[in-house]
């Protein structure tokens, strides 16, 4: 069965390490915050100028001056800090964030990613995504493997305007965990109950794998 949004987030959370500074994009990536392992400390960076983002506030603690990059009201954890946007992107561009998780419309076998624009249809702007994609060494892209109409989002070449070129190495879809290297998709894990054949069928770019591809463990 394809993973739910929550399961995708849960699988991503297994890639966290104790002491990681992490930037979570809008959408599924945001859910990762709900699955940080108990025995682990992780600090969330929000690119509008906050390190140490906490949960949503209560009615009593809501503060218009305290939002995340998705413009949601949030709180902070102990040890958090605020800074301006130049400092925030100095962190990101300078490679100080340990892990970035973000969504995408398409990725391809060259590690290209398209995530911000559908010409003539969706032109909202890239926000901080281009900086995140260019600045981080360690990025996990979360997305559904294919559209509702069965069109693959894992391509030989992205068709939409790029967010970044050659910057993606890891993709977690509702069907598979994939590494991108040497111009190919490498199938590392499959969603429980999803066959390699199903994944191949829904992957447009060249997909390779070694031996038995393990199922994800939760």
């Amino acid at each position: 069965m394809a993973l739910s949004r929550e399961q995708i987030a849960q699988r991503v959370s297994q890639e966290l390490q104790d002491g990681y500074y992490v930037n979570l994009g809008i959408g599924i990536p945001t859910l990762v915050a709900n699955y940080i392992p108990e025995n682990m400390e992780v600090m969330l960076q929000s690119e509008n100028g906050l390190l140490g983002m906490g949960q949503y506030p209560t009615e009593e603690t809501i503060d218009a001056d305290l939002i995340n990059a998705g413009k949601q009201t949030v709180t902070i954890v102990k040890g958090a800090s605020f800074f301006d946007s130049a400092e925030s992107f100095a962190m990101i561009r300078g490679g100080h964030v340990d892990l970035t998780v973000l969504g995408a419309f398409e990725v391809d076998t060259n590690g290209n990613i398209a995530s911000y624009m559908i010409p003539g249809k969706l032109i909202k702007g890239m926000g901080g995504a281009m900086d995140l994609v260019a600045g981080a060494d360690n990025i996990i892209v979360t997305m559904t493997h294919a559209s509702k109409h069965g069109e693959s989002k894992l391509l030989t070449n992205c068709t939409l305007p790029l967010t970044g070129k050659g910057s993606i190495k890891k993709v977690l879809t509702d069907l598979a965990f994939i590494e991108i290297k040497e111009g190919k998709f490498h199938l590392l894990e499959r969603a429980p109950g999803v066959s390699v054949e199903e994944i191949i069928k829904l992957t447009d770019g060249e997909l390779v794998f070694k031996g038995d591809v393990p199922e994800m463990q939760f």
């Binding site: 959408g27 859910l31 506030p57 995340n68 992107f89």
Partner: protein
């Protein structure tokens, strides 16, 4: 003796001298930390043909969104323009020119403008539409593009506290682009929630030294919230 007293007595005085065709750099991220009343004053004056530099363009009828109905903005330099129907309409019809700029590049362009750096290289946007017409260069085996800095005829800023010398302190994530924008205006106008006595702000803890500030006014703020997310409902994680 005027000395370093930056306080002006009205919003009219605060925005005096703004003219059609000027460039305005504005602080704020979404609806957070925006100079609401300075924007309202531009709206009231009906200044037109503006180039506006800001991460977002507000929402309909609030923030920079106020300047859309009368088409006061000719060109918008922003990283994100979503969630504003009138903006999208004007962009689609070509009434409004939009220069989409990655958020970190935008922040750095404004900082560079204030710091006398005319241009810098960044990897952000390499190989994308953002790189079109820009120089590519390789440093240490990686490709970068050249980005030029931004300054404004006016910078409009929202801070939390100030003293009359224009020393500023920002609050939480309402800081965002404000300290950068404050450095990048030929005339920098700041509105604040509270003006304290000179000497009350800890010199180690001033975010923006008064040297960048030309005019200062105390205002009252609506502080509209765009996405009111409250725990413990897990349905409010939003997308």
């Amino acid at each position: 003796m005027a000395g370093f007293d930056k306080i002006v007595s009205s919003y009219e005085e605060a925005m005096a001298g703004i003219e059609d065709g000027m460039t305005v750099v504005s602080g704020g991220f979404g609806s957070c930390g925006i100079p609401e009343n300075l924007i309202k004053e531009i709206y009231r004056k009906e200044t037109k043909e503006l180039t506006v530099v800001s991460n977002n363009c507000g929402i309909e009828g609030y923030g920079l969104g106020l300047l859309l109905p009368k088409r006061q903005i000719k060109k918008m330099i922003a990283s994100y323009v979503g969630e504003n129907g009138e903006f999208e309409r004007q962009m689609m019809t070509g009434e409004l020119e939009v220069e989409l700029t990655p958020q970190g590049t935008l922040a750095e362009k404004i900082r560079a403008g204030g710091a006398g750096i005319p241009a810098f290289f960044t990897a952000t946007g390499y190989g994308t539409l953002v790189a079109e017409g820009k120089e590519n260069r390789r440093f240490n085996g990686r490709e970068y593009i050249l980005e030029e800095s931004i300054t404004g005829d006016f910078a409009i800023i929202k801070a939390w506290k100030a003293d009359r010398y224009g020393n500023l302190v920002f609050r939480k994530t309402a800081r965002n682009f404000n300290p950068l924008a404050a450095t990048a205006g030929k005339i920098t106008v700041v509105e604040v929630e509270e003006i304290v006595e000179v000497g009350e702000l800890d010199p180690d803890q001033i975010h923006t030294p008064g040297i960048y500030v030309n005019r200062l006014i105390q205002g009252t703020f609506e502080k509209r919230i765009e996405q009111r997310t409250i725990q413990p409902s897990s349905a409010t994680t939003g997308e």
